[in-house]
Symmetry: D3
């Protein structure tokens, strides 16, 4: 499913354009005649995994329309510096008014896909999947989670409503880990698994007894993770979380965990340098 077809994306694009245009592009209104046409192209300036290319079309549509775009790359492509991503023809005013917003989305999402891909590559050959978290940039979650998939990662829950994750405060409030898991299993919509955060191997045992479907190992040492995986023995999925960076992700993956969640995929991915050039 293309980025532009995700629910709510059109209004995210419209809000971003509105944020940039304000009451209108003064410079362009004053210097560029109304009927003038232009041609431009998008170029990657660095190695990257591209994500969000199909958003360019609706951005120009919202900026006034009339732009014809020919994609020369697709989301998921790993590109080298200088690679042309798309060519556009249309009213010069529209191209100028939509340029920055289109690039801002493309640069942010390609940043996430590129960052994700580096983690995915680092664990290649193990059975671990790299997943995202809820540590996303406010307002861009659906798009960032799309970019994670483009980069080869998989998605954790999208929000507080489409997944159950019991943390220490839920445990304290429910009167114990077993009680919390029990409440969740009996009360939740039956399509949701119950995941519980464990800080010790003892808690992992409790979680198994209570019938948890997924066990999150919170900030455990690599040795403890290896131990936990053994202890679980396939009776639940095991997710590693906390303090995982490129330098240690392979070691974590080799413990045998099923999932490794990494906040930095979405909260700290540097933007990819992509520019819009003009055909002279």
């Amino acid at each position: 499913m293309a980025a532009s077809a995700l629910p709510g994306v059109e209004s995210v694009l419209a809000a971003a354009l509105c944020e940039d245009l304000g009451r209108g592009d003064v410079t362009t209104r004053l210097t560029v005649p109304d009927g003038r046409m232009g041609e431009a192209f998008l170029t990657a300036k660095q190695h990257a995994v591209i994500a969000g290319l199909d958003l360019v079309t609706p951005v120009f549509e919202l900026a006034g329309g009339g732009v014809i775009l020919r994609l020369e790359a697709a989301d998921g492509d790993q590109v080298v510096p200088g690679r042309i991503l798309a060519r556009m023809k249309g009213p010069a005013r529209v191209l100028l008014m939509g340029e920055r917003v289109a690039l801002n989305f493309l640069q942010q999402l390609s940043g996430v896909a590129t960052h994700t891909r580096s983690f995915v590559d680092a664990v290649a050959g193990t059975t671990a999947r790299i997943t995202d978290t809820r540590k996303t940039v406010p307002g861009l979650r659906v798009l960032q989670k799309y970019a994670v998939r483009v980069g080869g990662g998989s998605n954790h829950r999208s929000g507080l409503d489409d997944g159950i994750l019991i943390k220490d405060n839920h445990i304290a409030a429910a009167g114990g880990l077993g009680a919390a898991v029990g409440l969740a299993k009996s009360g939740a919509p039956h399509g949701l698994k119950v995941e519980v955060e464990c800080e010790t191997l003892a808690q992992v045992g409790e979680a198994l007894t209570a019938g948890a479907d997924i066990i999150l190992l919170d900030n455990m040492s690599v040795d403890d993770m290896r131990q936990a995986v053994k202890q679980v023995g396939g009776r639940a999925l095991v997710e590693a979380s906390g303090g995982i960076v490129l330098a240690n992700v392979r070691a974590v993956a080799e413990t045998g965990v099923d999932l490794i969640s990494v906040g930095a995929l979405t909260h700290s991915a540097p933007a990819v340098d992509i520019s819009m050039g003009w055909q002279s």
Copy 2:
């Protein structure tokens, strides 16, 4: 002016909360009783400049309210790891439902302020000001520009409507740099200065002749910048732009330019690690 008082911020917060809550927090509904109270605190986990602290209150208000917050730091503070930023008391459900969204804003904005501060410190003692660009994260521009100010930077225009910046395509469309500047000067609201992007020293001369108020030196070498500053001789403001990173920003500043614009302040600032702990 506090971040929460900026126009449009309340709806940005509400959208972010809505994005995270979806149809509601299943885990919390099932495991945490309705009347239960909790206490929590926010802690910085790394060296950082804090920005966005006052957003925490409206986030918890939108998440259900009833939270009492005591700030122990203020926006602009340079903090060390372990520094407590705020203490909160309130309904446990509300604290749990607002936690991630509050942290996401705080981490992103503190990231921008911290990144900005490093550039500002690098040019200390010169006359150059560090400014942001329109390369912002979609939907967060007003907040990111606030964080730039908190980090000691200054703001470029907020969008296409509150500043005039003539680029090569405007010049081409208008039939020359002088013509473009002329159109802008005669047609623009009289409160806006006219800025023009120059790629060569020859263009700098043209811009001065045409009466440009600000000259942007686009991707020039440090030597050319120094030359351009001399050429301008105070008749216009001079802004350096393009390819400026921490490693070269001081050299750029020492050319005598008035302004240095850096896209990375807002498009690639890594999030600051801030966490919410619970009083046991």
Copy 3:
């Protein structure tokens, strides 16, 4: 969690009030002086399970405010005709402007809770849970699913994003039941179970082999359901669906299925008769 605290409910209430008020209550403006106060009370006119009582307060708040409300019943209460549910005091204009909207919500939601309760009571003593479906009244899903819980039912997924349910068309498109289940298991967020709709006992076998977490028996005879439950033997949850009414629900429950989904809970629950009387 109270109905009024569910995400998005306040805007649903505001839209309903706006729908009723239009440009304002002409009759009340012309005949009721601005400062006049009034007292009123809500009464059930039939046997019912009440749901949505706490919505009355925000409706009057949106209608102008100043109303003090004393609840004399709570959501989930099974009431008899004549039972007073709440007493209100406040500006007569506000009471008149909010009356119909408050009642419309209360009558609809109590209808759902009452209808649900009759199904839940009918299967008392079996291990089957009554669940809702996505056959809800457009715009009221979150509230109707709340009312189902109030009536003792449990919730199926809230939408297409927080649960996986593979139907015949997905199976055809994926190239077979096993293939479809496999795609879902490997690609879905790891917190979601995989449910698959089966029309025959042979398909039930395929679903088990493929590792489905939940098996939906679509319009099967009671005998086939009993057979299917045996065949599954606890390796997956079993949900009965299709053509289930009060007259046959107990027979279905006694087959041993875990879940019985009933569209009529939300698409055809008659409104409960509740009226607002005035203290003279």
Copy 4:
């Protein structure tokens, strides 16, 4: 005027789709390839009056578009079980994502039209018109009132602003029935008639004296209604209201009243069973 052309309907459809899709259809994304096409048809499963058929097109448009629809019935048609209502061809993903929402609207509105038609048929040959009330499902008033018209009923006011209806509390506040009618007649926009609710024959007399245009007989016995009609003698329209069901509506109509308002048309109409089948 088609249902889809009514003011505000497009946003009601969009909200319903958003409610169902949430962050997107996981099952379909994972199991149905992007380019796959499908064919489907809508079938009535029971005797019904159809309403809302033209909403199907904009629902699929909002769900992604590309669906070609051929209507084989029209709003107002009285159909028998098995009757095909429409045939559709288009992207399988779009058909799957829009299916439930399209059906939910069609089932609810056909329910209202069908229920209305049964009341209208019951009074055939008398001079009474069946009208709706403001007891509608929140958010669906414009559509439900459309369905009432499709079922042969007529509409009462749409809200508090496009009709005047003086009830007992208005009377009390104004200091008497005559005073209330007087205030309404002198202050209201001149295009609105003045209707007043009467509980006794004495009040009917007062209302006539005061010049009321319409008299609502509130919960009167059939005998009193007959008496009231005689008393009014054509000087005002007479509306019967309160406790009217299919079993007694003809008797009420035969008293000679002009209008009979029935809340159940909109608050308790059971959904019509309509399903979407797939061409194999």
Copy 5:
């Protein structure tokens, strides 16, 4: 009912503030310290009827809040130049940010009330009422119609849905005046009167025969109006419309028409000069 209590007004105020603030008040942010308080007062600079005074409070609330306002006049007051209308104390930033928007509403609405009052005074002693039209300033209809009432005028329909007015094109489409009136009388919600526009005395006759409730005399001469009033003889309300200005309104009123509608009340009322002064 106060202006600020009219449906939809709060969002009209918020939109106006947003329109003026954009991304925020730069001047005030830079020159006025955050905690500084101020005192100000509103003064009429000309003879006027005041309308919209109670909007000042919500405007300052939306601009940041904390302002205490003491009204020294009320809507409907006829004031002389120099009259103080209200005194305010609060944060200087909030007063500065809300000032212009508050004044813009107050000046526009007082303009409408003042203009209306001049027409109402001109027909004093006759039986004619001055009414507004749908020729209102886009977005301000509810407020302008309120101001008309404040100025002593009465309201025509608010829009196309709360009144029936048959014009020449409706007549042509329906196949004659009588046919059009008949369709409207049988199909309309029973609380709406049927008004029909007549250009000749012959049409007035047709309208009476068809049972029209209100007859609009479109651009007739004063003599024809007098004739029409006689012809109608109280069997319908008579409204004069078209080309009516202060200079001829009394002559029109003296023909005995019941209503005189004047577009200029709302489309061309000059703003009243009201200013905000600061306590030094």
Copy 6:
């Protein structure tokens, strides 16, 4: 840039149409058959400068679409009474439902353009430009400022964020005119000029010393203005403001000021009489 291409205009049009249609055009629904076509034309009834003609198309699009429009004039045209502005063909229902809203915009904006033109003509031959202010009709600022340009005027700032204007209260809060100008110059985005309001010639001197870019002469006599212009001597732009009407604007312009701002352009421009006729 056409009026309809200005940011936010489409939603302003939609809101206006919604305001007029309410729940729908009853008269048209009842009297005009669904398929009926019509032809109409727009005519100016007085001398005017036309503005907003291109808004007619999107209004009819929003009202249902299918209307083909042929413009016979363009924004900025100075027309005489009787001049046809556009011809339209399309569904009669759509033409009837969009007519009033289209006219309301066209009449208001042409009013502003016409009023502006009279001021611009009055200063012809001088070097003064006529500019608007923030005294606009709430909700219509972007459109009114467009109409000012159409009438030959130039625009002042659009809001509080795209221009700096220091008034007496900012001066008082900052501790003096020089201090206020200094704070603005050092803190503002570098693309904004600093304008300061002066009431005396002494203040003009202070402003020059402080480096103000623009000096606003507030309510000065013509003699003082002449003096101020001399004093400034081209070191800053000079704007005259306060009490300027058609009768004195030329005298003001002849003092040599650069700009003359006139609130009445937007707050008190009478609507231009434009009507829609029907082809019989």
